[in-house]
Amino acid sequence: MTPIEYALIALFVPLAAAFIIAVVAPLRYAGMPAALLSVAAALVSLGASLALLVQQIAQPDRVIHEVVRWLPNGPAALAQVGVHLDGTSVSMSVVVTLVAACVQIFSLGYMADEPPAARGRYFGYHSFFIFTMLLLVIAPNMLQLFAGWELVGLTSYLLIGFYFQKPSAAKASVKAIWVTKFADIGLLLGLICLFAVTGGFEWTATLSKGWATAITLLMFLAVVGKSAQFPLHIWLPNAMEGPTPVSALLHAATMVAAGVYLVVRADPLFAQAPTTQLVMAWIGGFTALFAAVIATVQTDIKRVLAYSTCSQLGYMVCALGAGASMAGYFHLTTHAFFKALLFLAAGSMIHAVHSNEMSAMGGLGRRMKATSTVFIVGALALAGIPGFAGFFSKDLILEAVHEAGMFVPWLMLIAAAFLTAFYMGRAVFLSIFGPFSPTSEGAHESGFSMTGPLWLLAAGAVGIGYFGSDFAALAGGTYHFHLGMSGILGTTCALIGLLLSWLIYGSHRLSPQAFRFVAPIAWLARSGLVDRFFEFAYRRGALVLADAVGFFDRYVIDGVMNWIGWSTITSGRWLRRIQTGNVRDYVYAVVAGAVVIVFWGLSR
């Protein structure tokens, strides 16, 4: 089979599965068959992606670009759709399908208690997600990428709102799509600009400096939304209302990373716009630090991980801002593994204790050995402890940012590294060690369908870091591991953070009271100022404006129309008095008319 065929299989088999699940209602209502169909489709997709990866590793420089006309316009086509296979897209599609397959298999166990119909729907959404994400990943131009981008937003909306009966979930999903749609205004405008300037949607276009800056800034707005960067990160914590595997797949590993992928893909454009890169580095760095601070005060394990995702995405964006797209992309990959792992493990723990609160999970390490082990592996990888995947990619980023001379973002990243280790240590010590809570007392290990994927991901979280050079070869860069100053500093900070968390939450040698001097920051972190700002803008701004416009329409515009109608009727009523019904008066009128006409005629 040709690579194109593999790609099409990877793309359309999940779509077919989703379509069948959507259309064949009995299958959906049965639940389990739909789930198995979906998993099978994911595995086929994974297989096809792996086949592509094998071919790609054999020829790392191979680029396959195959398009067909999609939007006719004038004599030429306005847009094409197709397949673009190179190292980046192939490796990304493997990451997507692999994590997706793991998550789906995990969901078989995790969602077992749901009603069958809901389960069918759930897996249908998942299959559709694989299609949309791959549509984005193997896009040959920015327009198809945008299409996939919006469609993953749709699946995110549907999956966050999976428990649509829960008002908070319903609100969270709508909030997520509102925020990302708002950000997508930028991407759409950027694309339109790009088309108007270059006549196409290619990311390889060469632009003047001004246009490049404008277009990339607009695109970056969308990245800020999709990848949950400050200040549009507000939807991601709420997105945790969705089922935990969804959080793992969409809101940690793949969908939110689409923003990073976009920048990696459009690297030729971004490279032409140093201003945009500077903005990216600053926003990325700030988000990394800001979200990490918030993560340290969360008690809900999913929210800790959600803010951690924001923070890690900030790392990637910062790396991209430093021009090190390879570093950012590498971190995306490692992050996909360990964050999916962390979420799934957290899901397994939540499944066991039926609560998201870390205080309810104390001591799970003794009840759920496998889950706890992989969670710790994930936490160490995230914290950037040497030997784990996160260490390599984070080191690469710190190095790159430092080399780019962006001192302040670099400093923020170092601080974030410290905080990351601290809050992950906190999460581990609170939930896995620590005293039993009433709920965790009776918890027991999940079944194999849940632990199996966890082990697989754990292997990735440990091992993927050692394939940096192969990865670089695929992504078209070079990679030699060397521990520089930044790396040493970052790792040291992470170790200190871990130690500190052990001192406070593990051995209780230090009381949290000793850190009262950070209380204002903690208060700020809890208060959700950004959220409130947006809520204010929505309620006091948009809704009030809308009401004003609605009022204007009903009573001013419409009022004028009604007034015209009313005055016609009133004047008609007044004029009606002329019509007396008396023949004589009509005769007078006729006579008068005749006289007037005669004299008018004579006077001419």
Binding site: Q579, G581, N582, V583, R584, V587, V591
Partner: protein
């Protein structure tokens, strides 16, 4: 006998009809006044037909006369009907057109 005098005669006849139409109260009297007016018009028609020569004008005048007869027939029928309804045919009180 010039055209001018003839036209003056018919105008006078017509205006008398108008006067009758306005002052009379009885519906039949109104019909009589209308007859006067139509008569004036018919004379005009014949006069102009002579001016123009040919037969068409007179044919038209015949039509007018026939139409007038039809009008009188229907008009009288309405008057009688009105009388049957109202027991009087004073036109002032018949202002149903308004309602």
């Amino acid at each position: 006998m010039t055209m001018q005098t003839l036209l003056l005669l018919t105008s006078a006849l017509f205006c008398m009809g108008i006067y009758g139409l306005v002052t009379r109260r009885n519906a039949i009297a109104l019909l009589l006044s209308a007859e006067l007016m139509i008569n004036a018009v018919t004379i005009n028609l014949v006069a102009f037909a002579r001016l123009a020569g040919g037969v068409t004008g007179q044919v038209f005048a015949v039509f007018t006369i026939a139409l007038t007869v039809a009008e009188v027939v229907v008009g009288l029928a309405i008057v009688i009907l009105l009388f049957r309804w109202r027991r009087e045919i004073a036109i002032d009180s018949a202002n149903e057109l308004r309602h």
